[in-house]
């Protein structure tokens, strides 16, 4: 099985079209998998550029749980409507279990932009060293808070 490109559909189906085009150009040999809310799964399946659609259980607050694929992805692509958004923290956390070589923010839903802060944070988080550093500080912080009680 070839390693897929995984797109997290965080924008409307209409806005997905340029994202899919960009992915086909960037990774012509990789199958494209789209992670979507259950209500849009059929619509996404009809798109010939998409090889597989994975529905996730959606809670009112967003992702119900972390997304698992059982495959190593070439890249995770997260389209964002707002160029200046910080990489959508909830999406970042929901994708942390996906093993992937790369992480892209798709700015303005048309071009795969520099990986920037989203990639850096994903990498740091995925390799756990960011979390470990934060946990060192937070352990000390928690102790102080609970001692003050």
């Amino acid at each position: 099985m070839r390693n897929p490109v995984v797109i997290i559909r965080t924008v409307s189906v209409e806005k997905m079209s340029p994202v899919l085009d960009a992915c086909v150009v960037r990774w012509p040999d990789a199958p494209i998998w789209v992670v979507s809310t259950p209500g849009r799964v059929d619509e996404m399946r009809r798109d010939k550029r998409v090889d597989s659609v994975i529905g996730y259980e959606q809670e009112a607050r967003g992702f119900g749980s972390a997304i698992s694929l059982g495959a190593h992805a070439v890249a995770i692509v997260v389209p964002v409507s707002n160029e200046k958004a910080s990489g959508y923290g909830n999406v970042l956390k929901a994708t942390l279990r996906i093993k992937a070589n790369d992480y892209f923010i798709c700015s303005r839903c048309r071009i795969l932009v520099s990986r920037g802060k989203g990639w850096f944070l994903w990498k740091a988080w995925n390799e756990h060293w960011f979390g470990r550093i934060a946990l060192c500080f937070s352990g000390f912080w928690a102790e102080r808070i609970l001692d003050a009680e």
């Binding site: 809670e59 960011f130 352990g139 102790e143 609970l146």
Partner: protein, 290 residues
């Protein structure tokens, strides 16, 4: 003509509203369907400035309105909840509404008599995403969703409603914990659906992020099992650090500081089993991007 859901005669509906006139109009339009003979519908309005009160007066004269003088968050909802007269109280947000065609099973359960003290519905974000629902009965569920749960009136009154000092956000967690500690039986009916549209208005604000952070940390300080408290608080604060960097904001930190300065009136820890079955969602309010 469709058959009425007779058990709803014993159900009062309480809705908290604030500056979401169009959402509230839609909610009430769907709610006041002929099949649902609610005992009463009460709207507590937290000083809306968008004409909500006029809309209620003109278009929904049968809805009991409690116009509050100040926005004190969930204290307003408490006024509505504690004034309800039904055996059960359905708590809704102004942008949530029961999908009545899925309420048949719960209707049957309520008619026969229900052993649970709270029944949380399956809260979905969109009517379009509702597939077929098979009957599932009520199963134990240690949680509550303010935007779609039924609570026995006696329990609501015993607990004095939601903790008003929390203001808003995360109040259901606190309520669930207090109900559990009181020995209440909490359940969920998966076949009974409430649509919660999660309108973005008033949601991704700094105020939301602040209170959410403060209240979740306070929840941990109040109720986390003693032997796990340190690690749970530490892990929560690690998220505060990481998301403060990710979102380039100090609001989460301010929430933590507020929780430190604020001494809860009571604390009573849950057991490890209760806490793990409750599985509180200890996420930061990610929708706030700084």
């Amino acid at each position: 003509m469709k058959a009425q859901l007779e058990s709803l005669r014993e159900v009062s509906v309480a809705i908290l509203s604030c500056n979401r006139r169009e959402d509230l109009r839609q909610t009430l339009t769907w709610l006041l369907d002929d099949v649902a003979p609610w005992r009463e519908v009460v709207v507590a309005d937290n000083v809306s400035r968008d004409g909500t009160l006029e809309m209620l007066r003109n278009e929904f004269p049968n809805v009991r309105v409690m116009a509050l003088e100040r926005n004190e968050g969930v204290a307003g909802l408490n006024e509505a909840l504690l004034s309800c007269t039904g055996k059960w109280i359905l708590s809704l947000d102004d942008d949530s509404c029961p999908v009545l065609e899925t309420w048949g099973e719960l209707d049957g359960i309520l008619k026969q008599g229900c052993e649970f003290d709270t029944i949380t519905c399956s809260v979905r974000s969109s009517r379009k995403e509702i597939g077929e629902c098979s009957a599932s009965g009520i199963s134990p569920y240690l949680g509550l969703h303010q935007a779609g749960s039924l609570v026995r009136r006696e329990l609501m009154q015993d607990l004095g409603g939601y903790d008003a000092s929390l203001f808003l956000w995360g109040v259901e967690l606190d309520f669930s914990a207090r109900a559990l500690l009181q020995g209440a039986r909490l359940g969920k009916c998966d076949s009974t659906i409430v649509e919660h549209r999660c309108t973005p208005a008033n949601r991704s604000s700094e105020r939301h992020a602040f209170y959410y952070t403060r209240n979740l940390l306070t929840f941990l300080k109040r109720y986390a099992p003693t032997e796990q408290k340190q690690s749970l608080v530490s892990s929560y604060l690690a998220n505060v650090i990481m998301y403060s960097i990710l979102h380039r904001t100090t609001v989460y930190w301010k929430g933590v500081q507020a929780s430190k300065a604020w001494k809860p009136e009571f604390r009573n820890t849950l057991s490890k089993g209760q806490f793990s079955r409750m599985g509180p969602d200890l996420r930061l309010p990610f929708s706030f991007l700084g």
